[in-house]
Symmetry: C2
Subunit: 227 residues, 2 copies
């Protein structure tokens, strides 16, 4: 069981997946945000809609959510993509088609090797544009949402996958288990082990690697955790 991100690189996890296949054991690369109570319903609604565009907003205060985490600022530590990949895991689960990065801008503090903010553009197979905005400099609460603009209206996945609205009206959802997203994760894992199957979807990590490959870089003011 590999919790997100499943590894430091795409090829590393593909090798693990191949090893699991070869030895007939189960590898489960999980994305906890996909198990938010809003996600399955959003996915079902999107399947019946035509997507025109989408906006992913993943903003939080790094000092509140990642205090003293030095590794997250190191090369390979993902920076703001550490939370942002949660948004990408929901996005790619909900979309009924593939998407890829067409443009990316990564904002690095002058004293850090990982980005504090990023803006990404994607296009889906049917030509819908998706924009993502990741920012760790948000001091006023959190914004973890995806707005899907569809022919049926504006579908909004909110609170990191815990709430759902259609045209600003709340859609009732089943309640979270007391263990949150992790109950579903361990239930899936138990099922995979019984079936000796693996579930390794690396799409969110691939999109992040593509953003680093393609992205322009911008330097911003130094970041200091304790100020």
């Amino acid at each position: 069981l590999l919790e997100k991100p499943p590894g430091a690189t795409v090829c590393e996890v593909e090798q693990l997946r191949d090893l699991a296949d070869r030895y007939g054991v189960s590898l489960y690369a999980t994305w906890h945000s996909r198990h938010g109570v809003a996600v399955a319903t959003a996915k079902a609604l999107l399947k019946e809609s035509h997507l025109k565009s989408a906006t992913l907003t993943w903003k939080e205060d790094v000092k509140k959510w990642h205090p003293g985490q030095e590794w997250i600022w190191q090369a390979g530590g993902l920076g703001v993509f550490d939370p942002g990949i949660n948004g990408l895991s929901i996005l790619t689960e909900c979309l009924s088609e593939a998407a890829f990065v067409t443009k990316a801008n990564l904002v690095f503090p002058a004293n850090k090797a990982a980005p504090i903010a990023a803006q990404l553009d994607f296009v889906t197979q049917s030509d819908a544009n998706i924009h993502a905005d990741f920012d760790w400099r948000q001091c006023d609460g959190e914004a973890w949402s995806i707005d899907f603009d569809t022919d049926k209206g504006l579908l909004s996945v909110l609170d990191g996958g815990a709430a759902l609205q259609l045209n600003d009206e709340v859609i009732e959802l089943s309640e979270h288990s007391e263990f949150g997203e992790y109950q579903a994760i361990y239930q899936n894992f138990a099922k995979l082990i019984k079936q000796r199957k693996s579930d390794v979807d690396l799409t969110p990590l691939k999109l992040v690697a593509d953003a680093f490959l393609l992205g322009s870089r911008e330097t911003t003011e130094p970041f200091h955790d304790h100020e």
Copy 2:
């Protein structure tokens, strides 16, 4: 037919591959260096050997080989990975097992958005270490080689895949066709079209994306094409 690199991102080409599959047409993502006359022989020899370690050296003078190519210095332009991916395409073709990037250092000129040099470390599934050294600041000829240290001796793929040595002794190879690597590419493409099959191995591009994802960054002196 997509000549190397097959696209700007990994996910973009995976989408093309899926589209080709869906419509029953052939997509061929080629890596011209894999068709150097030394490659198939090196691969066969390595299959019968135990690899201990390998060193990939891909050095050339960017002013000689890429004069005035502004795109190559832009974000997503790959920089020194444009030639370096040729080396990676030979390496991954010759290896009989998977490898992934464990460490990378990318050297950017202060005025450019793509690296002028890079050092990479890989590990193979059976734990052999591979080091790669890419440099565009080589003024004294080219170094396009891979040295495989094996239990049968030192196998060296030289001249970008055109020559082969075992323990410094030249191995005789068939002659290149007058069209170089491209005769084999078009023959393969014709075969794929007849069979309505695709051949899309994205391993070299995935390794490069992983290097960008994982790599530390170093800034060096500005680069000017005309000096």
